[in-house]
Symmetry: C2
């Protein structure tokens, strides 16, 4: 690439990265609002989340297109190419987190639309906060190309998984004790599942950051591989 092309590439890449972070911010507020809607039963907030998912989908398509245009036009290689491909992968997971937020909002709508006021049987707040925290950390890690956060995200994900299993067991007990709670318990279970999925996607994003910064694909490579790359620090 010539000096001019290089500069143009950097400008275009920066625009894409800003777009990813804006999309990330939007996804974060979708997640926050979905859980706020679940707790409060605020109908307008719940509907806002459900309607807002469409914008996130469009952002994914837009950023994807900007990435493939940038590749075709500037023909980046090595870390430049990885930066673009990593952005494409990141938006896929952000879009899926958006889907999970929408699912939570839809479950919240059903739970709060019954004749009786919805009284939660299990505490999802802890797991929901953990997953939101993971998402924020994953976006931080993307923003600063900070590979050191990946092991922490992996550990937090284990906590989310443990919380999910505990919630499932608790819900089974409630359902057995009082079968009238089965419908609502299943809604709660699907919400817990959504939280668990948000955690998985946040982990994925932190793994793409390692790929972008170090060129090593640590997906499915186990905790040790993630820790080795994190210990190397950001090389970017």
């Amino acid at each position: 690439m010539t000096q001019h092309t290089l500069k143009q590439f950097d400008t275009d890449l920066e625009a894409i990265r800003t777009g990813v972070l804006q999309m990330g911010g939007l996804v974060e507020s979708q997640v926050t609002n979905a859980f706020a809607g679940l707790r409060s039963g605020d109908k307008s907030l719940i509907e806002k989340v459900i309607a807002g998912d469409h914008r996130i989908n469009l952002l994914e398509v837009d950023i994807d297109e900007a990435c493939s245009k940038l590749i075709a036009l500037r023909q980046p290689a090595a870390s430049d190419l990885r930066a673009v491909l990593g952005a494409m992968k990141t938006v896929t997971d952000l879009e899926r987190i958006g889907d999970e937020a929408k699912k939570v909002a839809k479950a919240a709508r059903r739970l709060h639309s019954g004749d009786l006021p919805y009284s939660p049987k299990v505490d999802l707040n802890h797991a929901a906060l953990l997953a939101s925290d993971m998402l924020r950390k994953a976006l931080d890690s993307f923003a600063r190309m900070d590979v050191t956060l990946a092991p922490e995200l992996a550990r937090m994900d284990e906590d989310v998984d443990t919380a999910f299993e505990a919630v499932t067991r608790q819900l089974i007990t409630y359902m057995m004790e009082d079968p009238r709670t089965i419908s609502n318990s299943l809604e709660t279970l699907f919400i817990a599942k959504a939280i668990e999925r948000i955690g998985d996607h946040a982990v994925n994003i932190s793994e793409y950051v390692i790929y972008m910064a170090h060129g090593r694909d640590v997906r499915y490579a186990g905790t040790e591989a993630v820790e080795i790359e994190a210990a190397k620090g950001a090389k970017s």
Copy 2:
């Protein structure tokens, strides 16, 4: 690209596409074996599926790497670039289908490990066959770059969704009638959910084929957009 580079690109792309289809074949047999294991309780088959998921994960990483190397080396543009990016997206969904097959196998293991023989309360065979059929059609569509299958896959996905909702309602009824069935019913529900997700991923693949063949990203664009592109036939 020079004539030689072009030829080399075609050879490399063909190798990638063959790899995607081999991975697809493996994922198909994981899905088939997972449901066969669920029906029969054949422990060795169930364990084979659970252990086999790792190979699919590695294939995703390998094909991903081959794709980014090809882009860096041959700097494809237009439909050539779309073919490579489409392959990358396709393997992401294939890997997720593999995850769903593993989830079904794990649920099958739990269901068949109880003291009592497992007797299914609801019929999942119809939905499972439908989802397997969708996967095969999605892989056909990828193999032949056949955009005309996408609308059919979208319709089949609606049937799978309808089957999932019916299964959920049936299971709620069973759980309420006999709370002792709650644990097993939840396992069955998670299996139904896995079937529903396999259908979604198959639809995604058929949408990538439209992107690869026509350059139009029809994700989230609605049924009409998919039908318009399908009606244009394969331009490749």
